[in-house]
């Protein structure tokens, strides 16, 4: 089964970050604390990227998610100050939502676990390749005419449009 080494230990620590942060986001009343929990969760995901040998994505996760999106959320929380700690955290349909979320989790768990301990056990002991593409390969793939250059340009266009749209929507036009 699992041998106890640094990698396994790091996985469980990061899993604790991810799930504990997520649990904090959905339960805290004070949204400032909720944002800090969100940052913890995002940091755990960055750790997962390191363990999965995707260092570039881990750095981008810290820079873009924690450095930009989480800070944006902090600003939104501060600008809507009177709403930061609502008396009621959840709406009327929260019981139904909880049931849906738990059922979804059970369903996903069954579909993840079954192939592992199922008849063939195909995913359980599959050898994992030691040869991994590097960040250089990712950079080349993103600008390669036969691979992702068109989605890459469309994504940058979308980002520009979203930034202009955000400025126009949030601007205070008296």
């Amino acid at each position: 089964m699992l041998e106890l080494n640094v990698q396994t230990l790091a996985f469980f620590v990061f899993a604790l970050f991810v799930l504990g942060g997520g649990l904090g986001v959905i339960t805290t009343r004070n949204l400032v604390h909720g944002t800090l929990y969100l940052i913890l969760s995002l940091f755990g995901v960055a750790g997962f990227f390191v363990l999965l040998s995707a260092p570039f994505l881990a750095v981008v996760q810290v820079l873009v998610y924690i450095g930009a999106i989480a800070i944006l959320i902090v600003f939104a929380v501060m600008l809507t100050r009177s709403m930061t700690s609502l008396h009621e955290v959840v709406n009327r349909q929260w019981v139904l939502s909880a049931i849906v979320a738990v059922l979804l989790f059970v369903m996903l768990t069954v579909t993840i676990i079954l192939p592992v301990w199922g008849q063939d056990g195909s995913l359980a002991g599959q050898p994992v390749s030691e040869v991994v593409a590097t960040t250089t390969d990712l950079g080349k793939a993103l600008v390669d005419g036969n691979q992702y250059v068109l989605p890459f340009e469309v994504a940058s266009l979308l980002l520009t449009a979203a930034m202009i749209g955000a400025i126009v929507i949030a601007r205070d036009d008296e």
Binding site: T8, V45, I69, T80
Partner: protein
């Protein structure tokens, strides 16, 4: 090495937490946080499957990079809308933004 199904299990739990936040929280900022959690769960899955199934094909990492872009765009526009609604109605509760309700 950690088996793939453990990453998938963590991602599934994170996705369900995000789904619950989107469905049940009253504050629109908390709903956006739930969306971010769900996008992160998807990213764990993309990178996990990339590493364990196709570590030489860049599709997994490239798609994860595009998810980052979409998440940034979504957060910027979503928070702009929230701030704009708050300025007009002094509220960020989606149930109370019902001007278009018949």
């Amino acid at each position: 090495m950690i088996p793939l199904w453990m990453y998938l299990l963590v991602a599934a739990a994170l996705f369900c937490m995000g789904a619950y936040a989107v469905l049940a929280r009253r504050n629109a900022v908390a709903i956006l946080m739930g969306v971010e959690l769900m996008l992160n769960a998807v990213n764990i899955n993309l990178v996990g499957f990339w590493r364990y199934q196709q570590p030489l094909n860049m599709a997994g990492q490239a798609f994860a990079a595009f998810v980052f872009v979409i998440a940034a765009a979504e957060a910027a526009v979503g928070l702009a809308i929230i701030i704009s609604v708050y300025r007009q109605r002094k509220s960020v509760i989606p149930d109370e933004a019902d001007t278009l309700k018949g």
